[in-house]
């Protein structure tokens, strides 16, 4: 009964003064909300926010006026871009600095004349160095449009040049010339017709059966991908906080007082451990409930979720019990705990999706205790995998949990012997 009484006592203290735990629980919930505010609309619409391209038209001709339409003409690029004219480069720089534009396209003076003369016609492109993805997308679209423009121009230029050459030489066109010129124009028109068909062309990704395309595939899935990592992150922090309470008890002499009672050292250790594990399971269940109620995550396959939650709770509890067993005081424990939580979070993919990491780091992430648990939750909540299909992740989490528990028990017993 001893361990249960100790654990119950600790838990009641938390219930009486839950402020800090609630603040720590607010961190993952706030971050999930923030990530949704940042990326939710993108995920829901399947599109990035419109990319703003600034246009500086120094030519002011019919041809130069067509340049903005490269980005806004419609078809698959419709709604992807918005263009805005600017007076000069300084004005563009001011907007770049405010992050309000992604690129500047400059049409230099003489652009139309160069085109008509068949000479080189430059389109100048300045990416915003503060941004990453949007300028690259704008550059890729401009590149594709130039390819199309050159293709059509190339076909139409040949007959035009033949006409110009004949006129310059002041000689009449032969029947063969006329046929060639007509063929050239016909071919140019055919290509233009192909261009009209561009809006009907699509390339779609197909995934293996029963797989989804990731968080972007379904807006409702967003939190099922994002929330597990934050939940694990929150649980690690709460675990540290619970362990520090035990450490304070030790500093206040509570441990020594308990050692004078009939309770065995093993019962004391078991009581502390039980308190931490029970507290963390409650925290994880609470977070899952918040996920289900606030973020509409469907709690599929409860046995797999419970296996992962209990395994991770044991690991996190054991980790911080081991830390406070080694630490001399609260500051030392806080130092070690924060450092280890930070490293685990970095390597386990809490701050950055493991799928996007380089292969080596990805493999590391999936064998980390938090990485395995996080991916296990994602597998169940987002992909709807069964207990059997998640068994690899569960075993990895439990493996870490048992190893860490052995280390914690050894550490705490060693310390208890010195009390």
């Amino acid at each position: 009964m001893g361990p249960f009484i100790i654990a119950r006592h600790h838990l009641l203290r938390i219930v009486r003064s839950p402020g800090l735990i609630l603040i720590l629980l607010a961190v993952p919930v706030t971050l999930a909300g923030l990530e949704y505010a940042a990326f939710g609309p993108t995920v829901a619409s399947g599109k990035l926010p419109p990319i703003k391209v600034l246009i500086l038209d120094n030519d002011r001709t019919f041809a130069s006026a067509a340049v903005p339409q490269v980005f806004t003409a419609g078809g698959p690029l419709a709604d992807m871009f918005e263009t805005s004219p600017v007076a000069d480069r300084t004005a563009a720089r001011a907007l770049f600095q405010k992050n309000e534009a992604s690129a500047l396209v400059i049409v230099p003076k003489g652009f139309q004349d160069a085109l008509l003369a068949g000479g080189r016609a430059d389109v100048q492109f300045a990416p915003n160095p503060v941004q990453t993805f949007s300028p690259a997308i704008a550059a890729a679209v401009l590149d594709m449009t130039v390819m199309i423009g050159n293709g059509i121009y190339g076909q139409a230029a040949a007959p035009l040049q033949r006409i110009n050459a004949a006129r310059a030489a002041n000689r009449p066109l032969t029947a063969d010339d006329a046929a060639d010129i007509a063929r050239g124009f016909f071919e140019a028109a055919r290509r233009l017709n192909g261009l009209m068909a561009v809006s009907n062309l699509t390339v779609t990704s197909v995934r293996p059966a029963a797989e989804t395309a990731g968080p972007g595939a379904d807006a409702k899935q967003f939190f099922a991908f994002v929330f597990p990592g934050l939940m694990i992150f929150g649980a690690l922090f709460v675990s540290q906080s619970l362990a520090l309470r035990l450490l304070r008890d030790r500093a206040r002499g509570v441990e020594r007082r308990l050692a004078m009672t009939s309770l065995s050292p093993a019962a004391q250790i078991a009581g502390s451990f039980l308190f931490m594990v029970a507290g963390l399971i409650v925290v994880l269940v609470l977070l899952l409930a918040v996920g289900a109620i606030v973020f509409r995550i469907q709690l599929k396959n409860p046995p797999a979720l419970l296996a992962l939650a209990v395994g991770f709770a044991i690991f996190a509890a054991a980790l911080h019990l081991a830390i406070i067993a080694i630490a001399r005081n609260e500051r030392s424990a806080s130092f070690m705990g924060s450092g280890i939580v930070m490293l685990l979070s970095l390597l386990g993919g809490t701050f950055f999706p493991a799928e996007e990491m380089p292969a080596f780091l990805r493999n590391v992430a999936f064998v980390m205790p938090n990485g395995a648990a996080q991916q296990g939750f994602v597998d169940v909540l987002a992909h709807g995998r069964t207990l059997a299909e998640t068994s690899g992740r569960i075993l990895t989490t439990w493996g870490w949990a048992l190893v860490m528990m052995a280390m914690a028990v050894a550490g705490v017993r060693r310390r208890a012997e010195h009390v």
Binding site: E35, Q124, P358
Partner: protein
């Protein structure tokens, strides 16, 4: 003089703690190094694609193959899609659909999760498909239209990738976080009665608050100097063209954060709660200010919010200084915002500590 003594004593006590050393010197470097490596611009790795042609003619598949090979994609023509290999299927009737201007959807058999490489490949396939539709071949002579890369009148340095992004971002985040969390020290001193005892000494309350503020400001300064130095030496960061403007601006940022931290400390009696709220605030404001992800990819509302939070006030001018060599005039509005934040929080903190 008394304030300075209190400040130096606080600084001495802080740098003795291993935890403080970790969060001032080591933690930011680990984060900056990890994310710098993760977001380091990589040369594009060779992508391989299988193409299955189910169309009666080979024209579309052939044209796409040629265009993709020109774009650096390794293409293999196969008869069926193999499990686990990126495969593009040109459906039956593809050439006829293009000729008739009718819808045509090419299917790319990809992995379980969407990746950036897959997104890039899909765009290249689309480009190749468009080229096929309008009859452009990679062997065609270059046309008159040419794209030339330029700038906006000043030599620009990209600050969006690798260490050039991660080091300034994590410098701002950790200075903000550490100075906010340092408020817990004030709460602890209140709880233990140390501030009351200090109040019994012949020192004015103003000197006490000033001393607490300066101690924290020095910590911020040390961390900034450390990150500037480590950024230059370890990560070869190109810091700002106007070095003193940058250092002056960062000093104002540290001063405002230190004052905010002291103010936080006066709001709580429980140091743990103060620490928890400070961490929560820093974690909330860091992404809102664009420290975790680029502001360009968030919606217009959050873009506006980034202009309203101290982390955003710090990052926007820092990026401007790093990317465009912005000078004092450009950072003035943000510097003024930090001065205002400092004044407001310092006055409030002083008033609250008067009552202790």
């Amino acid at each position: 003089m008394t304030a300075l003594y209190i400040a130096l004593n606080g600084l001495r006590l802080t740098v003795r703690r291993r935890e403080a050393i970790f969060w001032i010197f080591i933690g930011p470097l680990i984060m900056a190094a990890f994310f710098g490596i993760l977001f380091k611009p990589q040369p594009p790795s060779k992508v391989h694609l299988d193409i299955v042609n189910a169309d009666a003619t080979d024209s579309v598949a052939k044209s796409i193959t040629e265009s993709l090979e020109k774009d650096g994609i390794g293409v293999t023509r196969v008869t069926t899609a193999a499990q686990g290999r990126m495969t593009l299927v040109v459906p039956a009737g593809a050439a006829a659909a293009i000729a008739a201007g009718q819808p045509l959807d090419l299917r790319l058999h990809a992995g379980a999760e969407e990746t950036r490489a897959e997104g890039n490949l899909r765009f290249k396939i689309f480009k190749a498909l468009v080229a096929s539709a309008i009859g452009v071949k990679p062997t065609d002579a270059p046309g008159p239209l040419t794209i030339v890369t330029t700038d906006v009148g000043v030599a620009a340095h990209p600050v969006s990738t690798g260490f050039q992004r991660s080091v300034p971002s994590y410098m701002v985040m950790f200075v903000f976080l550490n100075l906010l969390v340092s408020g817990a020290g004030i709460a602890e001193e209140r709880k233990l009665g140390l501030l009351r005892r200090l109040g019994m000494a012949p020192i004015s309350r103003r000197d006490i608050v000033l001393g607490k503020l300066l101690g924290r400001f020095f910590i911020g300064w040390i961390q900034i100097a450390w990150m500037l130095l480590a950024g230059r030496v370890l990560f070869s960061i190109q810091w700002a063209q106007h070095g003193w403007v940058m250092f002056g601006f960062l000093s104002l940022f540290a001063l405002a954060c230190a004052s905010l931290g002291v103010f936080f400390g006066t709001l709580f009696k429980d140091p743990d709660k103060c620490r928890g709220i400070a961490i929560w605030t820093a974690i909330l404001l860091a992404p809102l200010g664009g420290l975790w992800w680029p502001i360009e990819i968030v919606g217009p509302t959050l873009k506006r919010v980034s202009h309203l939070v101290p982390t955003g006030w710090a990052m926007e001018p820092i990026n401007a200084m790093l990317a465009f060599g912005a000078g004092a005039q450009d950072v003035l509005p943000f510097a003024a915002a930090f001065v205002a934040l400092f004044i407001v929080t310092f006055v409030l903190a002083t008033r609250r500590l008067q009552t202790i």
